[in-house]
């Protein structure tokens, strides 16, 4: 029976001809647009998550505590809310790090009469505190430490970037929704033509006592087939674009966003995109059916 229903659906698609092709093209465009924004947004999301992990707050100390006091100071900071980890950087460590940064110019540092760099604590906020509000609260807590001279760092810039990522996702959803609505209307039109073309079949099916499911399913199936075909084409187009563009963009992305490579959809993402296409087509088929039902 399934073979018959699928066969009828395919026969209907052939009947719809160009209108069915238009519907498939529109579904392809809408899902390709949606998928493109989704890919860009998910890669930016990875960058944001990575940068959130790299947010650090530095507490510059008034003076370098004696060796025995460092452990106690680290313990006091470690138990503070919003702290995931803390590292002590002594004056000598800071100078060494500066020399490393200066590279061949490190000799300049040796000319200094004294080490001017302060000792500091490098605090890693917990995930909850790696937001603008959480970082501000942590800064306030660290600033009241008696040993603290100055506290620096924030997560504002990460949040601004995250805001742009969310905006991009919203635009993607908006563009995808408009194109999806157009695709649904086209599938509905194609299905309406199909319903007209198969009115004799429907009449005979009702006359011989076919179940409503048998009468309706081919119409719904052809819509779903159009949707699945559109989604498969969109996925193929995105995969080809990704394969061509990603290797060329990755050096730039690595430099600017800190991502070593751009990722494509996960298997779940692929299934979701195919499912979305099938759903769009099915909805178009169902709407046409509902409109023609007495």
């Amino acid at each position: 029976m399934l073979g018959f229903l699928v066969g009828e659906a395919l026969r209907d698609l052939r009947r719809a001809g160009r209108v069915a092709v238009s519907a498939v093209v529109l579904i392809t465009l809408s899902l390709a647009a949606l998928g493109s924004f989704w890919l860009v947004s998910s890669n930016l999301g990875r960058a944001v998550a990575k940068w959130r992990d790299r947010v650090r707050i530095v507490v510059y100390l008034k003076r370098e505590p004696p060796g025995g006091d460092v452990a106690a100071l680290l313990e006091r900071v470690r138990v503070m809310p919003g702290v995931a980890g803390v590292v002590f950087i002594g004056k000598a460590d800071a100078l060494r790090a500066l020399k490393q940064v200066l590279g061949k110019d490190a000799g300049v540092v040796d000319q200094l009469p004294v080490n001017p760099l302060p000792a500091s604590l490098e605090v890693t906020p917990s995930a909850a505190a790696a937001t603008p509000e959480g970082a501000r609260e942590l800064l306030a807590r660290l600033a009241v430490l008696p040993e603290a001279d100055e506290v620096a760092g924030s997560a504002d810039w990460v949040e601004r970037f995250s805001h742009w990522q969310r905006l991009l996702t919203t635009i993607g959803l908006g563009v995808g929704a408009v194109l999806a609505a157009a695709a649904i209307l086209t599938v509905t039109t194609a299905t309406t033509l199909i319903l007209h073309a198969r009115r004799h079949e429907t009449e005979i099916m009702r006359l011989v006592g076919a179940s409503e499911l048998t009468i309706r399913l081919p119409v719904l199936l052809q819509g779903m087939m159009q949707g699945l075909a559109g989604a498969t084409l969109a996925l193929g187009a995105l995969l080809v674009t990704y394969s061509v563009v990603a290797p060329r963009l990755e050096p730039l992305v690595s430099l600017t966003l800190g991502l070593s490579q751009l990722v494509f959809f996960t298997p779940v993402g692929v299934v979701a995109l195919l499912g979305a296409g099938t759903l769009l087509g099915g909805l178009g088929g169902w709407l046409a059916r509902a409109a023609r039902e007495p």
Binding site: H200, V208, G209, E212
Partner: protein
């Protein structure tokens, strides 16, 4: 098999009420071959439509195959129709399918196992003398052949009841005689047949029980 009790049907055309059937009552037993005759507009087609539950009477009760048709759900209507074969004057063959496909279509729609479809479809085509034209398309058939193909489609499920609405209406006498012969053969196999025709000569030649309709009333029940 069929029982009508004081059945009336009135169509509303705007504010105008047009009576199609008036207080029609009769019974048809299992295996009977009944001819329903009368002029065009006498109510023959309306009566047949009530029997396969394509319409409901305005008043009265209709019982077919032991089931009252008045309070049926859609699924029950479908189940009833699986036991009724219907043939129309215009054959209603699907033009993009061959004769074989038209007959097999019914079996496929009803979920008959694939291995049975070919054998049963050819049995039906042989019964109407059309197995040699199985691969022809409806446009390639004569009117008589098209009507025989429609008959094959109607009997392929071996229904206990066959309703034929003017199946010879478009045919010349020779072709009409062929169709009548096929109907007689089907009837001889135990199928109950109700044949509606406006051709009084054909009805008389059949020498079967004949219900004559006039103005929506059964005026005669003979034979």
């Amino acid at each position: 098999m069929i029982e009508l009790h004081r059945v009336s049907k009135v169509y509303s055309v705007g504010p105008v009420k047009v009576p199609a059937l008036r207080e029609v009552s009769f019974q048809i037993g299992k295996g009977e071959f009944v001819v329903l005759t009368g002029a065009s507009g006498a109510g023959k087609t309306t009566l047949l439509r009530l029997l396969y539950r394509d319409d409901l009477p305005s008043e009265g009760d209709v019982e077919v195959l032991g089931q009252g048709l008045m309070q049926m759900r859609r699924s029950q209507v479908a189940a009833l129709r699986r036991s009724i074969g219907v043939v129309f004057q215009d054959a209603k063959l699907l033009p993009v399918r061959t004769v074989y496909e038209n007959v097999a279509f019914v079996l496929r729609v009803l979920g008959t196992p694939r291995r049975e479809i070919t054998a049963r479809a050819f049995d039906a085509l042989r019964a109407v003398g059309l197995s040699a034209r199985a691969q022809a398309y409806p446009a390639q058939l004569s009117q008589g052949e098209a009507q025989r193909a429609a008959l094959a489609r109607a009997i392929v499920r071996r229904p206990p009841l066959l309703l034929a609405d003017e199946p010879t209406g478009n045919l010349d006498d020779a072709m009409a005689a062929e169709i009548v012969d096929v109907l007689k053969d089907i009837g001889a196999g135990g199928t109950t047949i109700v044949l509606a025709t406006h051709q009084a000569r054909l009805a008389a030649a059949l020498r079967r029980r004949t219900l004559t309709l006039e103005g929506g009333r059964v005026m005669k029940d003979e034979g």
